[in-house]
Amino acid sequence: MSTPGDLPEDVEAFLRRADGALAELVESAQIGIAYLTLECRFSRANDRFCQLTGFDEAELMGSELSALLPPEDAGACSDLHQLVGGSISDYSTAYRFVRKDRSILELQASAKLVRGTTQAPAFVVLVVEASPTP
């Protein structure tokens, strides 16, 4: 694709296409995907995540993950705090989410820390799916 002689334009086009491909893959995924800042606040959520939780993306933006959990589950975020602190790089767990209609939905979640160019923690990718119901 690119050669050292013609880098800038080709790379810009490649970068735009790659950005678009990632956005499309995340949006169209049949699994819930959300991004969290290092303050554990939502910065992005795909359609499936919104469908599962009942909130639209705008309502989730800026909210803390802990705000969507029942008060008695506040301790469930300790793994996430370790993750953003860089002590662990991923984890899997189950969260009980309070949906917008106040019903409780158990979600199986896997989280992965995304590191920046200096390897410092940058943000968190959270992938979720509903637990099977009896």
Binding site: V26, G116, T117, V127
Partner: protein, 271 residues
């Protein structure tokens, strides 16, 4: 040892000497993050005066991102009331230095947490040697610069081009991996729907292969997205560096070209 038979103050004095003379950076902080004590090795590592550290919080001393990391690890140490080992970094005169830090909760006689105590070992060389591919060239180039950089030599430009090609390849590989992971999530959802139609209940799903695979697929998807995002970050940084170093563009010109602010370009360039 003489302090065994001596007074509490003898021991305190000996301890102070030991901490002060330690080649490892050592600190004591209050619960709110205010530094109570740092030894000479800490001052040397931070490249700051003692007065600029003691009596101040991380947020008053270090950049926001660095402080958040320090404070998150402090909070975890105090919350768990147990030692915590973590990797932390520090930017000193544009040099990024990495430390393996062990933090301990400081408790009073009643068991109340009063702060943290930490000691560090520098692992910068180990971190660089562990990094793969284009990141090594980049991160090494990132150090030792202040603002607008000097023009690259031809040899540096060729190295920069190769780093760019490597970064592009990393993005391509990451995209492939993400597509595979996403196909698996689709197939998993279809399989789950099919089993549901067949009337298999919760025990079959939970104990079956499908459910176990579901967990693996979620983890794989999360890793693939993280890998893709990281590869894109490296590519953006590589591209910015190429435009600035090899093509002589200013941060403002690069910002206009990429549709981002000059400040963000400068921050990324110097990140």
């Amino acid at each position: 040892m003489s302090w065994v038979a001596g007074t509490h103050s003898d021991f305190s004095a000996l301890l102070c000497d030991a901490l002060s003379g330690s080649p490892l950076p050592i600190f004591f902080k209050r619960t709110d993050g205010t530094y109570l004590y740092v030894n000479d090795a800490y001052i040397a590592a931070a490249g700051l005066e003692r007065d600029h550290i003691v009596g101040h919080t991380d947020y008053e001393i270090y950049p926001s991102e660095t402080s958040k990391l320090y404070r998150a690890n402090d909070a975890l140490t105090m919350e768990r009331r147990a030692p915590l080992q973590a990797e932390e970094f520090l930017q000193v005169n544009d040099q990024l230095r990495w430390f393996s830090v062990v933090k301990f909760p400081l408790c009073d006689s009643r068991g109340g947490v009063q702060g943290t105590f930490g000691l560090s070992i520098e692992i910068t060389d180990k971190v660089w040697s562990c990094k793969a591919g284009p990141q090594v060239a980049f991160d090494r180039n990132q150090t030792g610069r202040r603002d607008e950089p000097p023009a690259n030599t031809d040899e540096e430009s060729r190295a920069s081009d190769h780093a760019l090609l490597d970064a592009i390849e990393a993005v391509k590989e990451a995209e492939k991996a993400l597509r595979v992971a996403m196909e698996q999530t689709t197939k998993s959802a279809q399989d789950a729907a099919a089993q549901s139609i067949e009337g298999k209940g919760l025990p079959d799903l939970v104990e079956g292969d499908l459910w176990r695979r579901g967990s693996e697929i979620r983890e794989q998807a999360a890793s693939a997205i993280a890998q893709y995002e990281h590869a894109l970050m490296i590519l953006r940084l590589t591209m910015i560096r190429g435009l600035v170093d090899d093509h002589g563009m200013t941060f403002a010109e690069v910002g206009r070209r990429m549709g981002i602010s000059r400040q963000l370009v400068a921050r990324l360039y110097k990140s």
